[in-house]
């Protein structure tokens, strides 16, 4: 396959953004090669344990401690279990390191579809304020785009992907093109009413999810069956994944070639034309390296996977990346700060229970620094994701009375967890380890990313406010918890190749296009200049569709 132009474009990575890139490029007439480091998982047939009960899954679907500690010691922070482990990276075979004193959970997928098979599916638009925040605060680089630039692209991807949610008309959390929301249960409706009356200006709304509540027969997809099987792959295609949504669309054009088990090591580059001239990858089964060429390259290898490939695409003297003339590559790495939880018991309503297992519950959107409050001691804000539920009782003791006791459900409980915005810091960075390479010859990623005072203060506030809201709403036995805040743990890592207008201070321009290579687009989380406090994937989808539109127009005009 070496040095041919059988393809017009190469897409590196098959996750949420890579799948969109492949769909859009093929639908616009380009012949596309899509590469993924993981193994193939086909929609439906590749979901080995979808719909299977625990006794029909290895180890009763409880990850064995011995295996977790040997092979999934990072993935364990990302909800790996036997029924979905095939979708996860093996941490033993694919190491990385930290610099002294820092810690980062780099939770990675290991199959075609990337994190689209294992994501949490909460889907929000970013707000106008999110894109203005860096400039307003004078922190990080100003975004070169506004919310308005993305509106048509949000509209476009939402209609196709299928996002459920409630229309709320909140300026700080714009509505999507929604399917009907996943309903709140009776206890959540009670809480919403209490919380919103006790705290004017704060809201509790339906989860916004890339889980459909209406069928899309034209895509062969069925609405959510409320099974709570998402993590095993959904044969109904009820949630957005590459397999269910973008891959079938790209394949339907007849212009897609998908190659799994292909680890991209670096991009080849011609400094004279300032273009990427080839994509080098290693076949993980044979160990053979190949180089493929195309006019256009979309890099969608995940935030830090893409940064690693960019950093390993180095000038002949081996020092600096071809794509780092700004000196900002690998910098301003962020993740949501996470692991503050609040819970309590909801009194009453015990004559009702839920039927069905929803993929998500309720959301308390950001209420800090939306413009109305004074100094709260930190910048930006946080939101909470939560749910009310009843669970099987857990009686103590043993024997027939305990067995009988386990046949009842508890009263209503509520819990929620905060996701907070992390500021972009120049020295939160990743680099290549000069001394250690992985099994494909790629230098290991080395992380130095820490949360700072602003993030810590925000989480203290999230804990206090969470307890306060639950108590004021009338919950009993309110408790909160905080666990170690480790960057990466929220699996919302972003940055490292940020967008900006100034080529001296950013890696990508406002079209997600490399300042140093007109035919290279990076449209995953690496491009983000700030991280909002809401989940990012929907924004990656919109940015990808927008970038493809620009790239293909540029190709036709001869400017890419």
């Amino acid at each position: 396959m070496a040095s041919t132009d059988r393809f017009d474009a190469i897409v590196i990575g098959t996750g949420i953004s890579g799948g969109w890139a492949a769909k859009e490029l093929t639908e616009k007439g380009l012949r596309v090669l899509m590469l993924d480091r993981g193994h193939m998982v086909e929609h439906g047939e590749g979901y080995t344990y979808d719909g299977r009960p625990a006794f029909d899954v290895p180890a009763r679907n409880i990850m064995p401690d011995a295996l977790r500690e040997s092979d999934y010691f990072i993935a364990k922070h990302g909800y790996v279990q036997p029924s979905n482990q095939a979708f996860y990276n093996n941490d033993r075979l694919n190491p990385y390191d930290y610099e002294e004193g820092s810690k980062f959970y780099w939770i990675r997928p290991g199959a075609v579809g990337g994190k689209s098979l294992i994501w949490g599916r909460w889907s929000f638009r970013w707000s106008a304020a999110d894109f203005e925040a860096n400039k307003r605060d004078g922190i990080g680089g100003a975004w070169p785009i506004t919310y308005d630039d993305l509106v048509p692209w949000y509209d476009y991807v939402e209609k196709y992907a299928g996002v459920s949610g409630s229309r709320e008309n909140l300026p700080y959390l714009p509505d999507s093109q929604f399917q009907p929301p996943m309903p709140m249960n009776i206890a959540e409706k009670w809480m919403k009413q209490r919380l919103e009356s006790e705290f004017p200006g704060r809201k509790m709304i339906n989860a916004r999810l890339s889980n459909m509540t209406e069928d899309k027969p034209e895509q062969g997809r069925t609405k959510c069956q409320v099974r709570n099987q998402c993590g095993n792959g959904c044969s109904f295609g009820a949630y957005f994944s590459t397999q269910a949504v973008t891959l079938p669309a790209a394949r339907a054009t007849g212009r897609l070639t998908l190659r799994s088990d292909a680890v991209v090591t670096n991009l080849e580059y011609d400094p004279a034309t300032k273009k990427v001239t080839g994509v080098r990858f290693v076949d993980t089964k044979t160990g053979q390296a190949e180089t493929v060429t195309a006019k256009l390259v979309f890099l969608n290898a995940s935030t830090l996977g893409s940064v690693q490939i960019l950093m390993n695409s180095r000038q002949p003297d081996g020092t600096r990346s071809h794509f780092d003339s700004s000196g900002t590559l690998g910098r301003y790495v962020m993740d949501h700060i996470f692991r503050v939880g609040v819970k309590g018991d909801i009194p009453g309503m015990e004559e009702f229970i839920e039927f069905g297992r929803r993929p998500g519950g309720v959301y308390v959107p950001r209420f800090r620094n939306n413009g109305q409050d004074g100094d709260v001691g930190f910048k930006r804000g946080y939101g909470y994701q939560g749910a009310a539920y009843r669970e099987p009782s857990k009686p103590v003791g043993f024997g027939a009375s305990m067995k009988q006791g386990m046949r009842r459900y508890s009263g209503w409980k509520f819990q929620m967890g905060a996701f907070g915005e992390c500021l972009p810091y120049e020295d939160n960075h990743v680099a290549l380890n000069p001394d250690k390479t992985d099994r494909f010859g790629v230098p290991l990623m080395r992380f130095n990313v820490t949360f700072r005072e602003n993030e810590q203060r925000m989480m203290i506030d999230a804990r206090e406010q969470g307890e306060k809201m639950l108590r004021a709403a009338g919950l009993k036995n309110v408790e909160s918890s905080v666990r170690e805040h480790v960057p990466g743990d929220a699996i919302h890592e972003m940055g490292g190749a940020r967008m900006g207008d100034d080529p001296r201070a950013s890696v990508l321009n406002k079209w997600s296009q490399a300042h140093d290579a007109s035919n290279l687009f990076v449209t995953d989380g690496a491009q983000m200049a700030s991280i909002s406090c809401v989940n990012p994937s929907l924004t990656f989808m919109a940015l990808t569709a927008r970038a493809v539109d620009h790239a293909v127009k540029g190709l036709k005009a001869g400017t890419v």
Binding site: R92, E354, R439
Partner: protein, 185 residues
């Protein structure tokens, strides 16, 4: 330097193409494979196994639905301790069984496995109340193993509970009076 670092260093000397054979030569287990089938080692002696089996049934006895033995809980526990748990997790179980047996010989002049169910209940109660050496440590670990093994078994999921793999619709205010059994998926 740990084993992973050592291997990465060795591999760097050779480059990518020799990875697969080198990995095999380095003795790496196949990636991510969960052991299935019979336990790879005998965790229990025949006497320990008989006692563990009897006690599992005391934790979750046969009532109007089958108990732990019918649900295959003893085999689950042995498989888990042999191949899925960390080796140190066997210690509280084995030492707890020994303490219970020793107390049985003292109180009832019989091996625990030969005592009556009520006497086994009394021995488990001693462990639960930490009135045996490391009793609570054994009791909590063993109870958790039995409960997990039972409620993830076919009997636990489909007979003791109501197997509901595809609810199809969500109802957030379903009458509790219409719930016959706890739902399982």
């Amino acid at each position: 330097m740990d084993r992973r670092q050592a291997l990465a260093g060795v591999l760097a000397l050779f480059g990518a193409q020799v990875f697969a054979p080198l990995a095999r030569a380095a003795g790496l287990a196949p990636a991510g494979v969960i052991s299935e089938g019979a336990p790879s080692i005998q965790v229990f002696t025949p006497d320990q196994r008989a006692l563990m089996t009897a006690l599992s049934e005391r934790i979750l006895p046969t009532t109007d639905t089958p108990g732990a033995i019918a649900a295959g809980v003893p085999a689950y526990i042995e498989k888990l301790l042999a191949d899925w748990a960390l080796p140190e997790d066997r210690i509280p179980i084995l030492s707890g069984l020994a303490e219970i047996d020793s107390r049985s010989r003292q109180d009832y002049k019989l091996p625990a496995v030969d005592t009556k169910p009520e006497q086994q209940d009394a021995l488990l109660t001693l462990a639960m109340n930490d009135a045996l050496p490391n009793g609570i440590e054994f009791f909590e670990a063993f109870r958790q193993l039995v409960i997990t093994g039972y409620y993830t078994s076919e009997i636990g999921i489909t007979q003791e509970r109501e197997y509901l793999p595809v609810p199809g619709e969500y109802n957030g205010a379903f009458p509790y009076a219409q719930v016959n059994k706890v739902y399982s998926a």
